[in-house]
């Protein structure tokens, strides 16, 4: 056997060599944010919850508004998703208002080439007249929202895109809330006029089921059927948990819940067999409201915007910004106004959508 010293030296050299090979470097945390799928564009259809600034014109723009949230303090859910894919902030496909010229709410409608965010505040699934449309009269005529329905939005995109999808677009469909508001108003009007409450409620729920089934049909015929391969359908959030519904009698809240569930059930049933990603926003909002702390939400009942006439001429988050929110820290409030989410609420929705995109292998 060789002398001990020689053996130790030889062993040390062998060990040192392996250590050098190991070359353990620093431990800095990094990220590779390249998604698994690279969409050519984000295309979205829906209502105020997807609106990227259809009405950011005239007085609405002058007031620092334009989207249905606390404007200017954080990205919208759709913008967050586009950003994940390295795409620019989605721009509204159409802009303008058809309200009172005297108040700066009459702005000629223009279509923005290359902009595929079709969602408009007040838009319904099929009926062209939604909340804020001047044809409804009263305060609706002041703002004069365009409320182009989802079915027309989808047709408009096909016209703009030459009749079909390329198959590389990431498409979002998110609608139904305005059908709840109009159908609920119809139920209330029927009962107010002496109609049978049960029959009126049943008619309202039935109408919601029809809207859900119609939306599923449009997704299949006008989106998937026209070559779209990456389609995400977000169901209707539980409107019965919004400050709007919470201000109504318990029985009415129950009716709203029934409307939401019937709409979502029909939407889901109608989409069975279609290759679309289903994002359960209804359950998302229920989870958030059941355990706000788990989502770092500090308030799930009070609107973050000061909706008093003195501070907010429209009583809507459409013209809400940091300049007219209520006092205190509203950064982790869920609702901006009676129905729309804050930027943080938008972030939570984007996370819910991203979860499903990842599950599908698209993120």
């Amino acid at each position: 056997m060789k002398p001990l010293f020689t053996r130790i030296a030889a062993a040390s050299v062998a060990l040192l060599g392996s250590l050098l090979v190991a070359g353990c470097g620093g431990g800095g945390a990094t990220a590779d944010t390249t998604p698994k799928f690279s969409p050519s564009a984000v295309v979205s259809f829906g209502d105020s919850l997807s609106d990227q600034g259809t009405y950011k014109v005239g007085t609405v723009a002058a007031l620092g508004g334009g989207q249905y949230t606390v404007n200017g303090i954080g990205p919208h859910w759709l913008e967050r998703i586009a950003t994940l894919y390295g795409l620019a902030k989605p721009c509204p496909a159409q802009q303008g208002l058809d309200g009172l010229a005297s108040q700066g709410f009459s702005v000629p409608v223009k279509n923005n080439a290359g902009c595929f965010a079709y969602g408009q505040g007040g838009a319904r699934v099929t009926n062209p007249v939604g909340p804020g449309n001047k044809l409804l009269g009263g305060s609706n005529a002041v703002l004069g929202q365009l409320t182009v329905p989802v079915v027309t939005q989808m047709q408009n995109h096909l016209t703009a895109a030459g009749g079909s999808y390329k198959g590389t677009e990431l498409v979002f469909v998110y609608a139904g809330g305005n059908d709840v508001f109009i159908n609920l108003a119809t139920v209330q009007a029927t009962i107010g006029a002496g109609g049978d409450p049960t029959a009126a409620a049943t008619a309202g729920v039935t109408a919601m089921g029809k809207a859900g089934a119609e939306l599923a049909g449009y997704v299949k015929a006008l989106v998937v059927g026209k070559g779209a391969k990456n389609v995400v359908v977000i169901n209707l959030p539980d409107v019965s948990l919004t400050p709007f519904a919470k201000s109504l009698p318990a029985a009415t809240q129950g009716l709203v819940l029934q409307m939401v569930n019937t709409f979502n059930d029909q939407l889901k049933t109608g989409l069975s067999g279609a290759d679309v990603v289903w994002a359960d926003a209804a359950q998302g909002v229920r989870d958030q409201i059941a355990d706000p702390a788990k989502f770092s939400l500090t308030n799930v009942t009070t609107p973050a915007c000061d909706l008093s006439a003195a501070k907010n001429p429209l009583g809507s988050s459409l013209v809400c910004s940091a300049a007219n929110v209520i006092a205190g820290d509203v950064s982790h409030y869920l609702f901006a106004d009676s129905v729309h989410p804050t930027p943080y609420g938008n972030q939570l929705l984007s996370q819910l959508v991203a979860l499903e995109l990842a599950r599908k292998g698209w993120l």
Binding site: I8, A11, A14, A22, G27, A29
Partner: protein, 221 residues
């Protein structure tokens, strides 16, 4: 070298009465190892979906080390490995989202071993035990992690795993192929926990308790 010829050489060496593993021997070895974490994940703290968990997948790497024979039967083993790269994937409420990131691990272990048989036995089973320092480094997050936590490419959500001390138990066997050359195979169980953290503030307690298999060829100096 196939098993048959390995066995033949082993038998020859055994009959040759060599003193392959005797007191004072240094054996430097090289080989490969696979670490297979047996993860038991806690829940990610708020803000998160209730029941958000993680899984840490198995990884393989090259491993080497030195064994010093204190006596003919008691040895001290210091394995030195190249980093292992593990995938960290979503589980629980976020099951199915796939890879959230990767993290490299470098387990640093010092084992005291008892080797059965004599210094000149061809086949020597052994048991070992000792401390392990699990060093976790170079964590790299994915777009998925940013997506589900509100990050963006400009401000991505990153993850990290705290390096921790644990304990390892070992069961193995060595063949002394010749006087100087040997081959060994061992299975180790390490008891170790870590705390994962996100740049968005959430943490998650995770028990890793990996089972590792290590194969090596050694040379006696």
């Amino acid at each position: 070298m196939n098993i048959k010829s390995l066995l033949a050489v082993t038998l020859l060496s055994a009959t040759g009465l060599v003193h392959a593993q005797s007191a004072g021997s240094f054996i430097v070895y090289g080989g490969a190892a696979q670490i297979n974490p047996q993860v038991e994940s806690g829940d990610l703290t708020a803000p998160s979906l209730a029941g958000t968990k993680v899984d840490v997948k198995k990884a393989s790497s090259f491993v080497g080390g030195v064994t010093y024979f204190w006596t003919d039967n008691i040895s001290i083993d210091l394995p030195i490995a190249l980093p292992f790269k593990h995938d960290v994937v979503g589980a629980g409420a976020i099951e199915g989202v796939g890879k959230l990131g990767t993290v490299k691990s470098l387990p640093m272990t010092l084992l005291a071993q008892y080797r059965f048989g004599d210094a000149n036995s061809a086949f020597r089973p052994f048991v070992g035990a000792g401390p392990t320092y699990g060093y976790f480094f170079k964590p790299r997050a994915t777009a998925t992690l940013s997506g589900i936590t509100g990050g963006s490419p400009a401000t991505p959500t990153t993850l990290s795993m705290k390096s921790r001390l644990g304990a390892t138990l070992e069961l193995g066997a060595a063949y002394n192929v010749t006087k100087d050359w040997s081959a060994s195979l061992s299975v180790t169980k390490t008891f170790i926990k870590t705390t994962g953290s996100l740049s968005t503030g959430q943490t998650i307690e995770t028990t890793l308790d990996p089972v590792s298999i290590k194969f090596g060829v050694g040379y006696r100096f």
